[in-house]
Symmetry: C2
Subunit: 355 residues, 2 copies
DNA sequence: CTGAAAGCGCTTACAG
DNA sequence: CTGAAAGCGCTTACAG
């Protein structure tokens, strides 16, 4: 204890913090500055002399120091957690969003907490509010269908909680929206089938309570109308985004005398249902029936023939949504952020047979 | 300020905490006890007079008080977060585990933080260690394949981190394991096919680096052997748990002169590949070929004919794993916890044709 | 059964 | 550009 030489040679003195266990006090002492200065370095304050900053940074690296998120959170009166709130989309969608969000969160000091909910249950908004308040979340990312619920958005604003809504149309200010433009993808599917020569075209939509379903269906019908093709009500079937509803829809549409030569199903699961119905009825795909789906789920490329479908880069959606959330305070987005879905043409469509 | 009557009548005084914003100090003051006593109530200490406890509880409810997890965590020197660490299983598996874990965590005060990783990358164990240490996690749940990595388990033990491993065989002490018994399910598939009368039976396994693949395959082969049926090497194909590898495997197995009358694919994706190959080769299922899969993925019931497969209640797995983690300190599990998979017979199997 | 003091590891507000 | 004091909302260790 008499030596005045720089310690750390005798490695086990209580003065040398264990890697991964150092605190702001250790770094401050080692650097010969106050902890407030270390705090400034942590928070990238410009009010630190470059030399001091460099020295502190070096020490932080040397001891593998990372500030304790809980202590920081307590002082900041908020946590470094982002909530992912979702109702009941497909597993693939949830997981891809998670991967994307985590891409954006990597090395940011933020972590992702998952929070499923049931938007049909009484008081689900209260549940989310409690979650946000208790965890003092930095913000939440809202996936369809909860993202489409204005009451939830309103409740979050009321408690001053940052959020980003992922939805098929802009329904909030730019900083709080990530738009997926389902309508234009519906139109792309329509134009594709029209350009192949199809004129009698059927549509299987999702449930009306999903905005995506409306957008996809309307985009499809409107685009066909622009090219002079009408889709009469009897060629539209409202499905439930499920395989079974796809089967039922196709059976109904294909039983008609003026049977359609092409069907657009608003998701891949229902498109798979169309395959099954067609197989049962002895209608060959793509020879006698062209099919377009939506989602590009793993299923799509496994069907036989491989399904032409709409692909949305969901991981990008997650990444950008998280990016918006993190920059919401610093650089409030001025222009609406969007990720655009596109058609992936595979083997399920052909020009209609000349009958 | 002169009134000595119980306040709260004039509702807006600074003495009355806003709902959802009360602190331990507010509750203590309102109850006329010290915050330490409130703390005892929060932590279910027996050292509180029933009357006092009741009064504090009432106040907590009235003001919607919930202790701040960050403050609590800081004082406890650990957080109330559970980490879910996974490499790359199917989306459906990940999501079901998440639902299950959250079932168990509900109202426990713990939250779930997701942490994907790449077990093939250099230093992935370090990444997980940093995650655990920085967040001061209460514990982590490990899903295959990372759950099978002894080096990771060792590293977690070294930093004194609670964990539960989900795997197909017991590879750790009871309190830290949730076993899924893939071997017995493989045997069940074997016995089913044998009892239908099949004798020439093919097997498409997963990659050898997955313990589940080995267990399923060996369980299948051993069970057949017990009933006097050999599966020669040329009737075993090592797939990659992917659709394409299922196609390739089936094409090879079905091209042989003594073509099998039944195939067991070690997951549903590969079983779907078998369907595709069979369709291409003009072999009808189940008439000329019986198929059994594994996982009971959504795919299974959408295939035509519906796939007979092994079903593991994955959500239960997640729930029980989380349960183990939460009770690890209090009641260290003495006996190995298991969730058992079972065959779901659908339409893809029939006795072999008498040719 | 209950409480006053000190501390967890950070930050805010203030002062210089 | 830097720091000493007080505080975020809890708990531990100690005392009674």
């Amino acid at each position: 204890m008499t030596a005045k030489t720089p310690a750390a040679k005798t490695s086990r003195t209580p003065k040398v913090p264990v890697p991964g266990k150092a605190t702001i006090n250790d770094i401050a002492r080692l650097a010969g500055v106050s902890k407030k200065t270390v705090s400034r370095v942590i928070n990238d304050s410009p009010l630190v002399k470059p030399d001091t900053r460099a020295k502190v940074h070096a020490l932080m690296r040397e001891y593998g120091y990372a500030p304790d998120p809980q202590a920081r959170g307590l002082a900041f009166r908020r946590s470094f957690l982002i909530g992912l709130v979702f109702d009941n989309p497909t597993a693939q969608y949830i997981v891809n969003i998670q991967y994307g969000v985590l891409d954006a969160l990597r090395d940011s000091g933020y972590e992702l907490v998952v929070h499923p909910c049931d938007s049909k249950s009484e008081g689900y908004v209260d549940g989310i509010r409690r979650f946000v308040q208790q965890q003092k979340l930095h913000g939440v990312i809202l996936i369809p269908r909860v993202s489409e619920d204005e009451a939830l958005a309103e409740a979050l604003r009321a408690i001053d909680c940052r959020y980003v809504r992922i939805a098929s149309v802009a329904m909030d200010e730019p900083g709080r929206m990530l738009v997926t433009h389902d309508r234009s993808a519906g139109a792309e599917a329509a134009n594709y089938l029209e350009s192949l020569g199809h004129r009698r075209i059927g549509l299987i939509t999702g449930p009306k309570r999903y905005r995506s379903s409306i957008e996809r269906g309307e985009g499809f019908v409107d685009a066909l109308a622009k090219r002079g093709i009408q889709v009469p009500p009897e060629r539209i079937y409202e499905g439930g985004y499920t395989f079974e509803s796809g089967v039922a829809g196709a059976e109904q549409l294909l039983a008609r005398p003026d049977r359609p030569t092409a069907i657009f199903a608003c998701n891949d699961e229902m498109a798979a249902g169309v395959y099954k119905a067609a197989q049962r009825m002895g209608i060959s795909i793509p020879g006698e029936l062209s099919v377009v789906g939506y989602d590009d789920s793993p299923l799509a490329s496994q069907l036989w023939p491989a399904l032409s479908t709409i692909r949305l880069p969901v991981r990008d959606v997650g990444r950008q949504a998280a990016g918006l959330l993190l920059t919401q305070d610093a650089a409030p987005a001025a222009v609406m952020t969007a990720v655009t879905p596109h058609l992936v043409a595979r083997d399920s469509c052909l020009p209609p047979q000349a009958v």
